[in-house]
């Protein structure tokens, strides 16, 4: 029987419950209030006193209210039908909720119990299977959604029966498995899993060795993210975190995308709701929404559910990874989740760490990032979760606990610069401060050179160097004045500007420029490197600025035209002419 308790104290959404029987840390409970049940999670147990954080407003709640413990942690429902859904942080299907305003205590089913799926068996009688093994598959949008041995099953099982090809509902028994003791277990298309526990149904998690194409040049060309890699985007407000994440979610070469909108603006999620059902996935030609799941816990939704939202998203991503899929997970913003932890730890009067954040914040963040990765599944297939989170540092200052903890956990650092944003150099990623640790992996370098041409990484380091030297010369020119430096300082500066304008900068709102394939990036990279290597002739520094502006402008016309189209070629020819004007033969 489930444990029953009684409310004895209320401070905002922290509620103290007295309970006599078994209660577990992180167990879910429901507080009865005026005909509704408010969901809460146990966060501390002190003798008979159980501290719970309520995922809802506690307005009107009274001491003495009855509390029912659920006997399990916060869990999500996993099965076909998760794609294209809009969930809240607790995996309630937002579309199933009634009315315009959210109602406290209204919880909705994550999946459709009556929807029929075409099942095809993959395992057969007498197969020996374990957690995560594929028993069969159904079509979910265009994905082969695997029906797996539930992750909670420990040890080996023998398949007693698997349903034949046909149409089934998610709660139908699809297979019967026999455990070592001869006990039979029915398996349906649905299983539950506690969000804070990583799903580890894989044999190995190697170091990532492939690159994930994102279509965003500051990522792919300058600081690529590995498939199964981790990265984060810190930046002050307005510097472009969300626009960048939206670009990734639209263009990244992933099988599917899970977006956790965590404590940020509702209108930004509405943008996805509105656009994704209309936008085409350039790789499959299907609608983007078909490969996307959204977990929306916007800033005005209950604070405690913010923490849940990122875990819910991660668990859904892990579920699909176990099917051998390439998943991209995005969280905007992980700082809001950290702040929710801070609010709660504050209310519990815990000893605060730096800036009032809980002491164990670094551990919490690194545990979370470690759930991403590239894996080999039991059957040798591969799957991956590439995770990119944003961080919103207070005052835009990167020396703060969330940024610092994340820097230790993530392998790519995409620093957004206020100065670049102010001068509208979008995406405002600082090309010099940012890094991808993956560029230091020999296996990644090898992968890049194999796929993008043997000169690829040499060229990449060449333009990075050009950017750095440009910045240094710019400082010199500023100190010494335009005519106080040798003429070639000006060309060095402007060659860096060519890299900045043509490669680093990218118009997220232009139909064509917004997405750049690796083929196109290689073409443009080579073109830019060629120009950088040319010696130009100028008589005075005053000629340098207008000339390079012309070069940049022409390059940009290329960026704005369809790759390899007539227009593209025309613009390229024009560029050639401009270059010939001053090229030293």
């Amino acid at each position: 029987m489930s444990t029953i308790g009684k409310v004895t104290g209320i401070i905002a959404n922290l509620v103290i419950v007295e309970a006599d029987e078994r209660v577990a840390q992180n167990e879910i409970c429901f507080i009865k209030h005026e005909g509704t049940r408010l969901m809460a999670e146990v966060i501390k147990i002190m003798g008979r006193k159980v501290y719970v954080q309520v995922f809802e407003s506690t307005r009107g709640l009274k001491v003495g209210s009855e509390v029912e413990f659920a006997g399990h942690m916060l869990e999500v429902t996993l099965g076909p039908g998760l794609l294209s859904k809009n969930f809240d942080g607790l995996q309630n299907d937002l579309d199933k909720m009634t009315g315009i305003f959210l109602k406290r205590g209204e919880y909705t089913e994550a999946l459709e119990n009556d929807k029929e799926y075409e099942f095809e068996p993959l395992a057969k009688k007498d197969d020996i299977v374990k957690a995560g093994d594929w028993l069969g598959q159904v079509k979910e949008n265009w994905i082969d959604h695997k029906i797996m041995v539930p992750f909670t099953f420990e040890g080996e099982y023998k398949v007693k029966s698997v349903s034949g090809k046909g149409t089934y509902k998610i709660n139908d028994t699809m297979a019967v498995l026999t455990d070592a003791d001869g006990k039979e277990h029915k398996v349906t298309m649905v299983q539950k899993w506690p969000v804070k526990v990583p799903i580890k149904a894989y044999t190995e998690k190697p170091r990532p060795f492939k690159v994930l194409e994102t279509g965003v040049r500051v990522f792919d060309t300058l600081n690529p993210i590995a498939e199964g890699g981790t990265g984060f985007i810190p930046g002050p407000f307005g510097s472009g975190k969300t626009v960048l994440q939206h670009a990734l979610s639209k263009q990244a070469e992933a099988d599917l995308v899970v977006i956790a909108a965590c404590g940020e603006r509702a209108n930004e999620v509405v943008e996805i709701f509105t656009e994704f059902p209309e936008l085409d996935d350039p790789r499959t030609g299907r609608k983007l929404m078909e490969r996307t799941t959204i977990i929306a816990n916007t800033s005005n939704m209950p604070v405690a559910a913010r923490e849940a939202s990122v875990y819910t998203a991660m668990t859904i991503a892990e579920y699909y990874r176990s099917m051998g899929l390439k998943v991209m997970l995005l969280a905007d913003s992980t700082s809001r989740w950290a702040q929710a932890l801070r609010e709660m730890s504050n209310r519990m009067e815990e000893l605060p760490g730096p800036d009032g954040f809980p002491m164990d914040l670094p551990a919490i963040i690194s545990n979370f990032y470690s759930r991403a990765g590239f894996v080999y599944l039991n059957n040798g297939e591969t799957g991956s979760i590439t995770f990119i989170g944003t961080v919103s540092p207070a005052g835009g200052n990167l020396k703060e606990p969330v940024t610092e903890s994340t820097k230790k956990a993530a392998r790519c650092f995409y620093a957004l610069s206020q100065q670049r944003a102010d001068s509208k150099r979008y995406p405002a990623i600082d090309p010099i401060e940012s890094y991808s640790k993956y560029l230091e992996y020999p296996e990644i370098v090898e992968y890049l050179n194999k796929n993008n041409g043997e000169n690829w990484t040499t060229n990449v380091f060449f333009i990075k160097d050009a950017l750095l030297r440009s910045k240094e010369t710019y400082e010199q020119i500023n100190i010494l004045g335009d005519d106080g430096v040798p003429l070639d300082y000006h060309t060095t500066y402007w060659k860096g500007e060519v890299v900045d304008f043509v490669i680093s900068q990218q118009d997220a709102f232009d139909k064509i420029d917004c997405r750049s394939s690796f083929d196109r990036q290689r073409y443009m990279l080579e073109k830019v490197v060629d120009v950088l290597k040319i010696e130009f002739k100028f008589d005075s520094f005053e000629e340098v600025n207008p000339y390079f502006k012309k070069v940049i402008n022409q390059f940009k016309q290329m960026n704005y035209s369809e790759f390899e189209s007539d227009e593209f070629k025309k613009n390229e020819k024009e560029l050639e002419n401009i270059i010939q004007e001053r090229k030293v033969a």
Binding site: T8, G9, I10, I11, T58, R59, G60, K62, V63, G64, N86, L94, D95, M97, G99, I100, F101, L102, P236, F237, G238, G263, R265, A266, N267, V269, F273, T274, T298, S299, N300, M301, V303, R336, Q339, A340, R342, E343, N346, P352, D355, G356, A394, G395, G396, N397, D422, S423, K424, N478, G481, F509, E542, N545, P546, K549, K550, N553, Q557, Y560
Partner: protein, 441 residues
């Protein structure tokens, strides 16, 4: 009649703890966030521990004795909503300032959020005539955006101007620590414009106790929800000054012994402000709530916790700055941003709007560089000189807040300035736009 209702209310007379803002007493059957009257002053339950209830007294506890009468009302703060709201001004408790009663339905303020999937994407352009806004930072219905301004800037005047030009069905003014002069100013401007019947005001002035302010935004937004969600009206909410709201939050959390985070603000500041701003919404049936707020800065510091958290919540910000070259207040094109502008510019306005906007700001940035050069004692190139001339004209003809023209005129003006000072290549617009709109002098 009154006696009857009182019979159901529980009355206590034994306070055992008093701080500057709170009182605690032994009481049972009390709901969280319930309102009570403590010695005639409105108070709200902020904490319950067993049978000990702590109340925050909005007007402060000065002079309250430990045997003061505490009456619990059994409900959270409410506002009576109905057609009678229009044209009236209320205090922080939602009571008409000129006395009298409002007929209407009682609603809890600070109610639930809109389900994000029921929201519509904002798409209606709000023309203000001010080019610093319409050209560079176009506003959209359902948006939330503050003015970031130093206390000496004319933010209330600009806000009143924007409100009157915005063609809203209702304008709701939430005065949070408004000076009495500014309160009268708003009243007069709205009156002069013959707009009083479209106005609802909830006013807490500097003469009222600071903690009372905490109720004003919720009152204003509840009224806004009534008009927008039920009457499908386009509502514009003006909240000035939310820095004072945040200050009041910090007073309360301080007195409740909470650990302050940055700049002595409560750790929940982000959530507290987001709860208000996120009431901005475009409803499916045409109604909308647009929030224009004011966040005053101390010596222009936007890294302070209040503007910083605000910036993370709102859909951009409008910076007012005095341009000493032209002696006028302008909308600063660098620090200002409307995040929703791309939903309308080039779509609801002329196709070249985004490019013209970006090009002009880029050239203005070049001018700023030239200025730095000049200040450092370096010679200017011919291009530098031209950017400086351009910047001055741009500031005067487009950025100044006294500009009042339509977007097409703004675009034409921009092309005139471009052609006067630059070549098409220097401006860098897409070829098709140069061909179509460039004006040779």
């Amino acid at each position: 009649m009154e006696k009857d209702t009182k019979a159901f209310q529980r009355i206590y007379t034994k306070l055992f703890q008093l701080t500057k803002a709170t009182v605690s007493l032994q009481a049972t059957g009390i709901g969280n966030e319930e309102l009570a009257i403590v010695d005639g002053r409105l108070a709200q339950v902020v904490k319950i521990m067993e049978d000990i209830v702590t109340l925050q007294v909005f007007a402060g506890t000065e002079g309250i004795a430990n045997d003061a009468e505490v009456i619990f009302t059994g409900k959270a703060p409410t506002l009576k909503v109905g057609e009678g709201l229009a044209g009236r001004f209320f205090n922080a408790y939602g009571e008409p300032m000129d006395g009298g009663e409002i007929m209407g339905e009682e609603r809890e303020i600070g109610g639930p959020s809109v389900n994000p999937v029921r929201r519509m994407q904002p798409s209606e352009f709000i023309a203000t005539g001010i080019a610093g806004i319409d050209l560079n930072n176009a506003l959209v219905t359902g948006q939330k955006i503050p003015f970031f301004a130093d206390p000496d800037q004319p933010y209330n005047q600009v806000m009143a101007m924007v409100a009157l030009r915005a063609q809203a069905d209702k304008i709701i003014l939430g005065g949070v620590g408004l000076t009495n002069d500014d309160y009268l100013y708003f009243k007069r401007v709205f009156d002069d414009a013959g707009a009083l019947d479209r106005i609802v005001g909830f006013i807490n002035t500097t003469e009222n106790p600071p903690v009372e302010r905490l109720l004003v935004p919720d009152m204003a937004l509840s009224a806004a929800e009534y008009y927008a969600a039920e009457k499908n009206e386009k509502v514009l909410v003006l909240l000035t000054d939310l820095t004072l709201y945040a200050d009041a939050l910090s007073i309360v959390s301080n007195r409740m012994d909470q650990i302050p985070s940055k700049d002595s603000m409560p750790g929940s500041l982000y959530s507290d402000l987001a709860r208000l701003y996120e009431k901005a919404v475009q409803f499916p049936d045409g109604g909308s709530i647009t929030i224009i707020a004011v966040t005053t800065l101390s010596s222009g510091d936007i890294t302070h916790a209040i503007p910083d958290n605000t910036g993370y919540i709102t859909e951009g910000q409008l910076f007012l700055r005095k341009d000493s070259d032209i002696g006028k207040v302008i909308v600063d094109p660098f620090r200002s941003l409307s995040r929703l502008k791309q939903l309308v510019i080039g779509k609801k306005t002329r196709e070249d709007h985004p490019q013209v906007m970006n090009a002009a700001v880029r050239l203005y940035a070049d001018a700023a560089n030239a200025k730095t050069k000049l200040e450092n004692g370096f010679d200017l190139t011919d291009y530098d000189e031209r950017t400086l001339d351009f910047a001055k004209a741009y500031s005067e003809k487009l950025l100044a807040i006294d500009v009042n023209v339509e977007v097409d005129v703004m675009l034409e003006t921009a092309y005139e300035l471009f052609a006067k000072h630059f070549t098409p290549v220097e401006v860098g617009l897409k070829k098709e736009f140069v061909e179509k709109y460039w004006k040779e002098n």
